[in-house]
């Protein structure tokens, strides 16, 4: 049979089948996350590896020595692997990991909005069928996931390991379900806060490297200044614990301790016990995060209105 000759259009009419908004946003977020983890971003990968090594190394080292632990009811033993390592998780999150965590947040979040603003492709994203909030969420997801990778994930591995040591019994998980929840909440809390602050800096300073530097300096500079100030005031006897709320790191740490329900104690100087009302802590936190969100939203709405 001979086929019929036919001519077709060079460029045909096209109607795309489009997915819903949530899936667009999720897709954008996931692609951004994968791009952050791609081999081009060597620094990010190196930092992630460093944090993982730190966490797991900490765990392995501590499991041999004695570490303050609250004894479990079932196993009457002071062995680290058998005790409820609340303090461990806290120390881990607030010790060495903290430095790398902020650095990682600074490096990974700084480019996301800043790059879009410098090459002005933000306008193109905003003219797509997603709202401004959708765009922000899509830019927030990659950093959030990346930070989750280094906050919650290693701790979960430690948790699973402990469960394994305890004989893989379901009862163990049942008895420690709050610990599991705490690990997840702490991880997502840190990730969310740092990514929101990082994105704010990325929007405010639309140069990638400067934004990263400013974020790092802001978080650490304020922490150091306030810590010194706090010490000076403590010695002169007129100290007020509320001053700690002015530093982002300390604020987040205090809330972190609340989440784990341990006695708030703090900083490299080993000061113990602070006296601040819960409502003040959470009030300041909500104020900071809220103003960050509003600021980013305002900046982007400015870009829409002007040229």
């Amino acid at each position: 049979m001979k086929e019929k000759a036919q001519v077709s259009e060079r460029f045909r009419e096209f109607k795309a089948e489009l997915t819903s908004r949530p899936s667009i946003v999720m897709g954008m977020g996931l692609r951004g996350f994968l791009r952050l983890l791609s081999l081009k971003n060597q620094w990010i990968l190196a930092l992630v590896a460093l944090i993982w090594l730190w966490t797991l190394g900490f765990y392995v080292l501590l499991s041999t020595g004695d570490y303050p632990c609250q004894n479990l009811e079932f196993w009457d033993s002071s062995d680290f692997k058998r005790c409820q390592p609340l303090v461990y998780y806290n120390d881990l999150g607030l010790g060495g990991v903290r430095l790398f965590l902020v650095t990682l947040a600074a490096i990974s979040s700084s480019g996301l909005i800043a790059n879009d603003m410098t090459d002005k492709s933000l306008h193109l994203y905003l003219s797509r069928p997603i709202s401004r909030l959708d765009y922000l969420i899509a830019r927030f997801i990659p950093v959030f996931l990346l930070l989750m990778c280094v906050t919650a994930l290693p701790n979960l591995i430690v948790y699973v390991n402990q469960w394994g040591e305890a004989g893989l019994e379901f009862d163990w998980i049942k008895n420690h379900k709050w610990l599991l929840l705490d690990i997840l909440i702490l991880g997502s809390f840190y990730s969310a806060s740092y990514s929101i602050i990082g994105l704010t800096f990325s929007t405010a300073i639309n140069r990638e490297s400067w934004a990263a530097g400013a974020f790092f300096l802001f978080v650490y500079g304020s922490a150091i200044i306030i810590e010194i100030f706090y010490l000076v005031m403590l010695e002169s006897g007129v100290g007020d614990d509320r001053i700690l709320l002015l530093s982002v790191i300390h604020l987040l740490d205090i809330i972190g301790f609340y989440i784990f329900g341990t006695q708030p104690f703090f900083t490299a100087f080993g000061l113990e016990g602070i006296d601040i009302a819960d409502i003040e802590v959470f009030g300041v936190f909500i104020l900071i995060i809220g103003s960050c969100g509003l600021f980013v939203n305002w900046m982007i709405s400015q870009m829409e209105a002007n040229k």
Binding site: A16, S20, D119
Partner: protein, 299 residues
């Protein structure tokens, strides 16, 4: 296609659009107006990027007040300024834009290559955007607006900064767009000849108000009472000969302007040319140009 009813938009004390009412038909529409007349504001409102202070606007039969975001599935937008990331390749960027619009990866890829083929982009589509020339960047910008097969595409100054050849290509592409795929085009530009060559309809905006809305073909057929004549050889002889038949020619722009009385005038011009032994390069009754219309309306 787009209906605006009494749209008012204020930025603080500045009124960008002032009781703006327009009914834009389908096809290729040109929007003209001076800087700050409210063109970009109107385009941004129609895209749902900014909200009106008061008034209603309907795009493709859907009310924008209720549906600012999803309407953009049917709209493409090509901004005026350079706004494409330098670090990506052309293909990567277009696929990303397709995905952000909500297409699946397969259809986005397929569509990207189809559009780039249509825009005559060859191997360079795999190169980084930073290596692109002005014309190619402009093409990528156009392509990203077309990627999801929109029913309307807004083009904001698509030919600015392009050299004549690239401009020609761009205009031809835009012209072909409606013919091939039935996309409606809304073209905002400062170059009036672009509107003349591309558009079916023209809208002139000034001070936030609609000044004129007219069919371009009809507009261009309006004739003036001047005959443009260009002569080789001795122009003086020719003018003298014309004077003998009672016609005074004035020199204008390029060549001579002869007032049109009736069709007899043409014969007299030809006669004069023969008598003064001149070459007659050009003889035509001039028509209205976009320049005339624009300046008449705006000033």
């Amino acid at each position: 296609m787009i209906e605006a009813r009494n749209v008012i938009k204020k930025y603080g004390a500045v009124t960008a659009l002032d009781d703006f009412t327009v009914d834009i038909p389908e096809g290729k529409i040109g929007i003209l107006g001076p800087n700050g007349a409210g063109k970009s504001t109107f385009v941004k409102i129609a895209l749902g990027l900014i909200r009106t202070t008061s008034g209603s606007i309907t795009v493709l039969g859907e009310d924008l007040d209720r549906n600012t975001v999803d309407i953009r599935r049917k709209i493409g937008y090509m901004p005026e300024h350079d706004c494409i990331p330098n670090s990506m390749t052309g293909v990567e960027f277009l696929i990303e834009m397709g995905l952000v619009t909500g297409m699946s990866l397969q259809s986005a890829t397929q569509r990207t290559h189809e559009i780039l083929g249509h825009l005559m982009m060859g191997e360079e589509k795999y190169r980084k955007i930073e290596e692109y020339s002005g014309g190619m960047r402009q093409k990528i910008k156009l392509a990203q607006g077309l990627i999801h097969g929109p029913e309307v595409i807004f083009l904001d100054e698509p030919t600015s900064g392009l050299d004549p050849k690239a401009r020609q290509e761009m205009l031809e592409t835009i012209n072909g767009l409606t013919e091939v795929s039935g996309t409606n085009v809304l073209l905002s530009t400062h170059i009036l000849q672009d509107v003349e060559t591309v558009c079916d309809h023209v809208i002139i905006v000034n001070n936030g108000k609609l000044q004129m809305q007219e069919n371009v073909k009809k507009l261009m057929q309006r004739q003036t009472d001047v005959i443009q004549v260009r002569i080789g050889g001795s122009t003086e002889d020719f003018v003298k000969q014309l004077k003998k038949s009672g016609i005074t020619a004035t020199s204008g722009g390029r060549g001579l302007h002869v007032p049109y009385v009736n069709d007899k005038t043409f014969e007299q011009i030809v006669d004069s040319a023969v008598k003064s032994n001149c070459q007659l390069y050009e003889m035509e009754r001039t028509t209205v140009t976009m320049d005339n219309v624009y300046l008449e309306v705006v000033d």
